[in-house]
Structure formats: structure tokens, C-alpha cells
């Protein structure tokens, strides 16, 4: 009997964590095949953790408010890129440049986030697809601003940033003087592995902030809204406002995260840096075992490590196994999309099951009531 219970527990554990377990298996198979040295791998993963974790953490707040995966985090990334383009045109370099870019991204992020939140309030129940389309729509507006308005309307001076035709921004903006300045400031080398301490400190601060925020009144309100909007409204919570705030916070944090990401990369791909970022961050979070309605800081860390290990080793392993380097390249793209698809399917089936269970309970209660009335 007890054994049976244990078996069930194990099965439950496997079922609930199937995605991370699958990824651990992929990594176990691919790491030896790829033939990368451990020190190289650890170095790469630590770099990518510093680069990505801040961005992924921003997804936690909308999940808390029951708005699902925020595909609109791209908006924050766009805000950060706008800020960085302006800062690099003003030729403010190094740490002051990074800090200024972060500060400058805040108003853009708040504006975009508030707009996104307003639209999402008009599309309750289909937030994810709407936020996904918003990111496409805003990409169009972003192009309009960067490609046509920067120059004639928003003054841009330097030819290193501006296109030769006199308006618009180059395809790639160099952040050479800003490159890894945050990462290098307090970097520590531990056995050949460079650890960007300052970046990790910032990430730690954000984690603490999120833990603290969950306990505040606003955080509690958000969780209540995420549980049940109607109940929250009856309890006197301004549901619409709470939801907008959660999206604005997520967008602002995504802006900071994108500045950190880009200072690590060292250049901005003006028209494409932001377009994939949402997808990769969401995939990484889901790989860590998060679901659409539940995610923790632990999921973020585990997800980044597993997802990026796969990302580093898959092309090489694919090339060795099949003899074609493109296979691994496509494989990792496929895996990112497949993970998101599976997570979405699991979430929706779970939601449906819960709904039908609630319906059954209601029916049972009704029957009992009727039986009682008949007696």
C-alpha cells in the first residue's frame, strides 16, 4: 500500500516535471557528443546566465497576475533599444551610459506597458495571443520611429549611428565603449571561469525585490486577481488597474534586462534584437518547469541553465551526429517552439479538467440538495 503511494508520488513528480527532465536527458546525451570542454561550457553558461536571467525574471509578475506569459515583454526590449540608440548618439559611454540608458528606458517602457495593459484589459481571456500580436504591431511602430523619424524629427547627430541617406538608424549600432562594462566592473575569475559579479548582484537584487513584492499589498492583490477576477473585484480590488500595473512593471523590468543583455552583446541589431527575445526568454522559463499560471525564481535559474546548455551544444552535436551543421541549428529552434507549444497545451488541458471537475462538484451538490428536498 505504502509502496503504491510512493510509486504514485514518483509518477506525479515525473509528470509535473516532464519538461525539465526531458531537457536534462537531451543535455546528458548532447554534452559528450559535442566534445566541448567543461571549462568552456561553464564559462558560456555563466555568461548567458548574466545576460538573460534579468530579462526572464520580468515574466514572473504578469504570471502572478494571471495574465499568462507576457509575449509583450518585447515592448520593454524596444524601449531599451530606443534608449540605447539615443545614449550612444550622445556619446555617453561606460557605466554612466548604461545607467542613463536604463533611466531613459523607463518613460518609454511605462508608456508602452500602459498601452499594452489597456489593450489586454479589452481582451480578457485571450491575453497571450493579444500580447503576441501587440508585439508585432509595436514592431511596426518601432520601425516607423527608428527608420523614418530618427533624423528629421528626433535629432541624431553621429554618422556611426545614422544611415548614410540622412535619416534612420543603421542595421547595427555598435556599443563598443559600453561592451560588457557592467560585467567587467567587479568580475571575478574562479578557476578560469569569469563571473560577472555586479550583474549577478543586480539579478539578486531583483530576486529579492520579487520576493518582497509578493508580500506587499499590491502583490497580494495581483495574486488575488490572478486567482479569480470576479472574486477580486468583489473584494474591492481595482482589477483593471492592478493588471495594467503588472504589465507596466514587467515592461520596465524587461527594459532594464534588455540594457544588460545588449551591453553584454556589445552591439544592437536595430531591427531584429528584440524580435526573438520574447520567444527565447519564454522558452527558457518553461524549460525550467514553469507553467502558464505558476512560475518561481527557481524555475528561471534552472531554465536558463538547461535551455542554454542545449542551445550551446545542439548545433555541434547535431553536426557530429548527422554530418550537417544546419540540422542542430534548426533543432534548437524547433525545441524552443515545441517546449512553448507543449506548455501551452498542458496548461489548457489542466484548466479544462479543473473546470469540468468544478462542474461535477456543482452537479453533485445540486443532486444532494434535491435529494434532501425530496425527503
Amino acid at each position: 500500500m505504502k509502496n503504491n503511494g510512493n510509486g504514485k508520488k514518483v509518477l506525479n513528480f515525473l509528470g509535473n516535471n516532464s519538461v525539465p527532465i526531458l531537457f536534462i536527458l537531451i543535455c546528458i546525451v548532447c554534452i559528450p557528443v559535442s566534445g566541448f570542454s567543461p571549462s568552456y561550457l561553464i564559462n558560456e553558461i555563466v555568461t548567458r546566465m548574466g545576460r538573460n536571467i534579468f530579462l526572464i525574471l520580468c515574466l514572473l509578475i504578469p504570471i502572478m497576475a494571471g495574465m499568462g506569459l507576457n509575449f509583450g515583454m518585447t515592448l520593454g526590449a524596444m524601449a531599451a533599444e530606443l534608449a540605447l540608440i539615443l545614449v550612444s548618439d550622445w556619446q555617453i559611454w561606460g557605466i554612466p551610459g548604461v545607467v542613463l540608458a536604463m533611466i531613459l528606458s523607463i518613460p518609454f517602457s511605462i508608456l508602452l506597458g500602459a498601452l499594452c495593459g489597456k489593450i489586454l484589459n479589452m481582451a480578457k481571456g485571450r491575453e497571450m495571443i493579444t500580447s503576441y500580436i501587440i508585439s508585432f504591431f509595436m514592431n511596426g511602430v518601432y520601425q516607423l520611429i527608428v527608420l523614418y523619424m530618427m533624423g528629421p524629427i528626433i535629432p541624431i547627430k553621429h554618422t556611426t549611428v545614422k544611415l548614410p541617406r540622412g535619416y534612420g538608424i543603421r542595421n547595427s549600432v555598435d556599443l563598443f565603449h559600453m561592451r560588457q562594462c557592467l560585467d567587467n566592473l567587479m568580475a571575478v575569475r574562479i578557476g578560469g571561469v569569469k563571473v560577472p559579479v555586479l550583474t549577478f548582484l543586480l539579478i539578486g537584487l531583483l530576486c529579492l525585490f520579487i520576493i518582497w513584492f509578493r508580500k506587499t499589498k499590491l502583490g497580494q492583490d495581483m495574486r488575488a486577481v490572478g486567482q479569480d477576477m470576479d472574486v477580486a473585484r468583489d473584494a474591492g480590488i481595482n482589477v483593471e488597474r492592478t493588471r495594467i500595473i503588472s504589465i507596466v512593471m514587467s515592461t520596465v523590468l524587461a527594459g532594464f534586462g534588455m540594457v544588460i543583455y545588449l551591453q553584454n552583446m556589445g552591439n544592437i541589431a536595430t531591427y531584429s534584437s528584440h524580435s526573438q527575445i520574447g520567444m527565447f526568454c519564454i522558452a527558457a522559463l518553461l524549460v525550467g518547469g514553469a507553467s502558464v499560471d505558476k512560475a518561481s525564481i527557481g524555475n528561471v535559474f534552472l531554465g536558463v541553465i538547461l535551455f542554454h546548455t542545449m542551445f550551446i551544444v545542439a548545433p555541434k552535436a547535431g553536426a557530429i551526429i548527422t554530418g550537417d551543421s544546419m540540422i542542430g541549428e534548426y533543432f534548437r529552434v524547433f525545441v524552443s517552439y515545441a517546449v512553448i507549444t507543449i506548455a501551452l497545451i498542458m496548461y489548457e488541458t489542466k484548466k479544462r479538467k479543473a473546470r469540468s471537475r468544478a462542474g461535477q462538484q456543482l452537479q453533485l451538490a445540486q443532486q444532494e440538495e434535491e435529494a434532501a428536498a425530496n425527503e
Binding site: M122, G125, R126, F136, N139, D324, I340, Y347, T349, R352
Partner: protein, 358 residues
């Protein structure tokens, strides 16, 4: 005297606002914008009839893929963001038809024949999945499309295609990213009964082919099964009470939509002249979705006129903006306008309060 004038004035204004409300403001703006482009075209030196034929041409390429949206909207599955899945069946049909050595018009027929079982099988799986996750169709459809496209990216490299017209010349394996259809079914429909008057040319065959499919769809929607499908879409509980098998209807609509998408991409290819593989089908759902929405469809209601009007307006803007805008302000803003118009339209449809119940 004055009073009656006021009244008629008011009536007129009311009628206008009623018309606007019925037709939808964004649609009106888009139609007016397109009209403006057509009027402006001769003044900026673009030939009017060439523009018209371009628009009609592009209409004929895309109309079938937009038509593919109709069945799923009718059965209440929402907008089919999973269109790439059907496109992949079409691509499999196209490549296998060439691989098996068919040429000329026969290759087009065979492509349709081969694509059909793929579309039915993939559509059935996809429909089964959508039945499991009622209410969350659109987001999952998007990602089913994405995963299938990226999965096929690997398959195009790994499948043992041999035909020298399709594989990479040096390696001798793995399909090329674009395959020319010259000698196969390039313009095979367009050439049937093609009309040339001066600069105006009309691909009659393609239009007739679309008309045939559109009529078939119209007839189907008015048949017993079609009516049952519409009932499932408008009120599933009522439909179930009336003895309609809801899941079966939804499954049928998804298969139909997937099959039409497969035919749609083949029609598109015969007009365009190339098969595009790998990441090309990735974002193909979005133009089709926004086209039918521009035509006046909503998330749960669509008709054949919506398809025709929508495709014409959308493709009109896509073809007209580059030429007209370029010569007017010497800036190529067409891409930005296209993105903002099409995504804006989808956003508008998703946020309409009346439809956001579910």
C-alpha cells in the same frame, strides 16, 4: 421648414454613423486609403492599369489561403493561426510531385492529389488537439504552426529527395530554399483564358479556380453538415442539445481548413513561380488572418464576401503602397504600413468587447 431640414440632416447623419458602425471604422479607413492610392497613382506616374492588374494578380495568388480561414471561424475554433501546418502539407505535395517526375500541368494536379492525404492526416491530428483545448485555440494554433515549420526545416534537409532541380547542387542532398517551378506548374492556372487588354492582364484561370472553391465552400456551408457546423460555432450547447456531435464538426472544419491551406499555397506558388521552403511559411498565417478581418469577418463570423473584399483590400494596399508612396515622398514606407495595418486589424478584432466572451 427649418425643422424638417434639421430632421433630414439628422437622419442623414444617423444613417452615416449607422453605416460606419456596421461596416467598421478601421475597414472604412483602409478602404478610403486604398481608394486614395488608386486616385493618386496616375498623378505620381504609376500606370493605373498595371497597378490594377498587379492587385488582381496578387488577389488570385492569396485568395484561397484566406478562404481557408472560413471553416474554422464558422465552427467556433477562431482564427486559424495554424495555417502553416496546411501550407506544409501543400509543400510536401509540391516537392513530392516534382520528385516523382511529373511536369507541366500534370505536376499541379498531382501536387494537389499528394497534398490531400497529408492535409487530412495533419489536419485530423491538429483538430483532435484543438478539441482537447477548447477556449485556448488561437495561441496554441500559432505555436503548432511554428513548431511544425521548424520541424520541417530539419526534414527538408534529411528527407531523401533526389531530383536535381530541387536539391543543393554541390551536396546532392537537402532541398534548396527556393525551387523554381519553370517547366512544372509555373502560371499553369493563370495562363488558362488569360485576358490581355493593353496594360491590363487578368489571370482568369486562377480566378475561376478560386471561384470554384469559394462556391464549393458556400454550397457546403448551406448544406446540412455546413449548417450544423455554423450552429456549433454560434452556440455549442444548443448544437449539442440538437444532437450535433460538436467535436466531430470542429474536427471536420479543421481538416477542411488545413486542406484549403494546402491548396492555397499551391495556387500561390503557381502564381509566384517558386516553391519557398524552410522558414518561408513561418509568418504566412498573419497576412491571411488580417485579410479576412479587413474584409469584415470577426473572430466568430465570416462569409465568402468577407474573403473577397478582404483579400482585395489587403493585397491592394500591399501592391499599391510601394509604388505610390515611393514616388510621392521618396521613402519606402510600405513595409511599415503593411505591418501596422495588418497587425492593427488583428488587434482590433481581438479586442472587440462583444466577441471577447469565452
Amino acid at each position: 421648414m427649418n425643422e424638417t431640414l434639421d430632421k433630414s440632416n439628422l437622419n442623414f447623419r444617423e444613417r452615416v454613423s449607422e453605416f460606419v458602425a456596421g461596416f467598421g471604422l478601421p475597414r472604412l479607413i483602409i478602404a478610403a486609403f486604398l481608394l486614395l492610392l488608386f486616385i493618386a497613382a496616375p498623378f505620381v506616374g504609376a500606370d493605373f492599369w498595371t497597378q490594377i492588374s498587379n492587385t488582381i494578380n496578387r488577389f488570385s495568388w492569396n485568395a484561397v489561403m484566406v478562404l481557408a480561414m472560413v471553416p474554422m471561424i464558422h465552427s467556433g475554433c477562431g482564427l486559424n493561426f495554424g495555417l502553416p501546418l496546411g501550407i506544409i502539407s501543400g509543400l510536401l505535395g509540391a516537392t513530392l510531385s516534382i520528385e516523382l517526375g511529373f511536369t507541366g500541368p500534370m505536376s499541379f494536379v498531382m501536387a494537389i492529389v499528394i497534398a490531400t492525404p497529408f492535409a487530412v492526416i495533419l489536419g485530423a491530428g491538429y483538430g483532435w488537439l484543438l478539441n482537447k483545448i477548447k477556449g485556448g485555440e488561437m495561441m496554441i494554433a500559432t505555436y503548432v504552426g511554428f513548431s511544425s515549420v521548424s520541424f520541417m526545416c530539419m526534414m527538408w534537409l534529411l528527407l531523401p529527395y533526389k531530383s536535381p532541380t530541387m536539391v543543393w547542387g554541390l551536396a546532392g542532398k537537402g532541398l534548396r530554399t527556393t525551387i523554381s517551378l519553370e517547366g512544372f506548374y509555373d502560371k499553369v492556372l493563370a495562363k488558362i483564358l488569360q485576358i490581355h487588354i493593353g496594360n491590363l492582364s487578368i489571370p482568369t484561370g486562377t480566378l475561376l479556380f478560386f471561384a470554384l472553391l469559394a462556391f464549393g465552400m458556400w454550397a457546403f456551408l448551406h448544406s446540412k453538415t455546413g449548417t450544423a457546423m455554423t450552429a456549433v460555432g454560434s452556440n455549442p450547447t444548443f448544437a449539442r442539445a440538437a444532437g450535433v456531435n460538436v467535436d466531430k464538426m470542429r474536427l471536420l472544419s479543421v481538416i477542411l481548413s488545413t486542406w484549403l491551406a494546402a491548396i492555397g499555397i499551391l495556387v500561390y506558388e503557381q502564381g509566384f513561380g517558386f516553391v519557398q521552403l524552410y522558414m518561408a511559411p513561418f509568418y504566412m498565417a498573419l497576412p491571411a488572418v488580417s485579410a479576412i478581418l479587413i474584409g469584415g469577418a470577426t473572430v466568430n463570423k465570416a462569409t465568402i464576401p468577407n474573403v473577397i473584399i478582404g483579400t482585395f483590400l489587403f493585397q491592394g494596399i500591399v501592391t499599391m503602397t510601394p509604388t505610390v508612396m515611393n514616388s510621392m515622398i521618396h521613402m519606402d514606407m510600405s513595409e511599415v504600413i503593411r505591418v501596422v495595418v495588418s497587425q492593427g486589424m488583428i488587434l482590433y478584432a481581438l479586442t472587440r468587447k462583444t466577441e471577447a466572451t469565452k
